[in-house]
Assembly symmetry: C2
Homo-oligomer: 325 residues x 2
């Protein structure tokens, strides 16, 4: 059995806890939290909730810690810190900062003699894998990534910070015409606006100025100004009833040509009922790989690019070849 510790218990931590149940060779050893452990109620009976500080001695009985924190402030600090002490997996998703995060985590993991896997999930993660495979196979071509339809937590949060907004959810939606043009091999040059639209469901506070809120949303730099954005004002009841889930998904395409000019299209897509639950499933499969690599004596920071696919499976290699190859 591979013993998994989870550090952090929000949507993602709980998703990891539940994903472990779908894998007979893995067990949840403990949940670690920065809150008072007595205040954290988990789903699994008989598994302890401990203080994150219990990890500091480096002696907790776990094979891999999955760090279920946020990329903005938690992971840049936590992953290097704990990679000195344990094998770790994170879902760091600030693409621009991956090189520096990798360097920090690699130094720590090498120092501690552990394996760390960063930026695991679906983007970065499975989408990255598909970009890499497709680039290697079609050296002459163009890459396209579309996200959605799904809830963007970052954009929903940005709306909620606006004065007069009580609550909000934002959907990122790929533009069907752009997807179709890519699939048709038209190799389009697409602007930000041409690739995605943004749809916002907003609950106003009592007495708030709807027109001002809408203007502030659609003109918000980086988040909305470069997109065609639709704003719907609804009640809290409607938001809770119709927009409670965290669906997401998207598409990775590469179109290219062979040396004789034959057109080729490689497309990968995900349609996810729950973004954090799917990310959790990916993290758990890769935690298995990390435990194995560590058992083989590997050390240092890895990404999904460095891990042979067979390491993700609990099945015997001969069984995989007979059944799935």
């Amino acid at each position: 059995m591979t013993r998994i510790g989870i550090l952090g218990y929000g949507n993602l931590g709980r998703g990891i806890e539940l994903a472990i149940r779908q894998n007979a060779d893995m067990e949840l050893a403990a949940v670690y939290t920065r809150r008072d452990p007595a205040t954290v109620q988990i789903e699994t009976e008989g598994v302890p909730v401990k203080s994150a500080s219990d990890l500091e001695a480096g002696t907790e009985p776990v094979d891999v810690i999955i760090i279920a924190g946020g990329s903005a402030t938690d992971l840049p600090e936590q992953t290097p810190h704990f990679a000195k002490l344990y094998n770790v997996v994170d879902s760091f998703d600030t693409h621009a900062n991956i090189p520096s995060h990798f360097a920090n985590v690699d130094a720590a993991a090498q120092e501690g003699g552990h394996v760390a896997l960063i930026s695991c999930g679906w983007d970065p993660g499975l989408f990255s894998l598909n970009r890499l495979y497709a680039n290697c196979i079609l050296p002459e071509g163009a890459d396209y990534t579309f996200w959605g339809k799904g809830i963007s937590q970052g954009h929903s949060d940005a709306i909620r910070r606006i004065e007069g907004v009580a609550d909000a959810k934002q959907y990122t939606i790929p533009v069907e015409a752009a997807l179709d043009a890519v699939r048709a091999g038209e190799n389009p040059q697409l602007t930000t606006r041409e690739k995605h639209t943004r749809e916002c469901f907003v609950v106003l506070e009592e007495g708030a100025d709807a027109e001002a809120v809408e203007r502030e949303i659609v003109e918000m730099p980086n988040y909305f100004a470069d997109y065609d954005t639709t704003v719907h004002f609804i009640s809290q009841e409607e938001l809770d009833r119709d927009h409670a889930g965290l669906p997401h998904g998207g598409f990775v395409l590469r179109t290219g040509t062979s040396a004789t000019g034959s057109p080729m299209t490689i497309e990968y897509s995900l349609k996810l009922g729950s973004n954090p639950e799917f990310t959790s499933s990916v993290l758990v499969a890769y935690a298995r790989a990390v435990a194995r690599l560590a058992a083989e004596g590997a050390t240092g920071c890895k990404t999904v690019f460095d891990i042979a696919p067979a390491y993700l499976s609990a099945a015997d290699p001969a069984d995989l070849r007979a059944r799935l190859l």
Copy 2:
């Protein structure tokens, strides 16, 4: 530069020759043939065509030999034979015989201290990879593979063997309604007939009995009897004009649920202007990986399951992380 030798010069061998041109870090060292080399005209100036027997001494100046033979009789004999002498890659695609082929090639490669990669291409190959990744991430779910729309060489050959048939091409076509049901998460149990249809374009010999030929096609066991098959009789000119290409493609889907029951769909698809040219591109990318594994001291038989994605790329790992992760 990775020096590639090609053994066999048909559609696939020529595709490999041309695919190498799209990879600046690779060069074609030589083409090896069982025919008289003087009768084989290749596309690349200055590259020798040699006799396959020249390989026997194990001293040819190549890093990897890509064996471009057929799975029925060539590869079961050639791949183990040459894996004793060189690093090799093949596209062995008789799924049921992969375990025994693996065992034979592994023994030979271990004996010779070389790396061999078998069953590389798109199915087996990229489709297998996607079945494996999706199975590891969604342990509770169902797999679906659809092929087409594309030319099946085996089925076209089967028609051409019928008395009275001068020439023929057969398209395998996925049933759109079945694909849609899978995508909708309906988890359908699909019969052979419900998944694919077969469309045949047949040129009759002078005086042949069209009705008898059609009956023999649609009733042919294994090949056509279990499918809804359409037969069109056309002229050789029409066949040559409208059906000269070798397009293919297909879909790998896995639908499943998280531990809380959230539905998830992972879909991978290929749309290929030329089946042998795409297979060639995959073989060349994996030949790069084989050369690297061999340089690291690895030995034995591998499949796509055993190869970390980064090995396929000519780019530096840090560049891959910055650009594609």
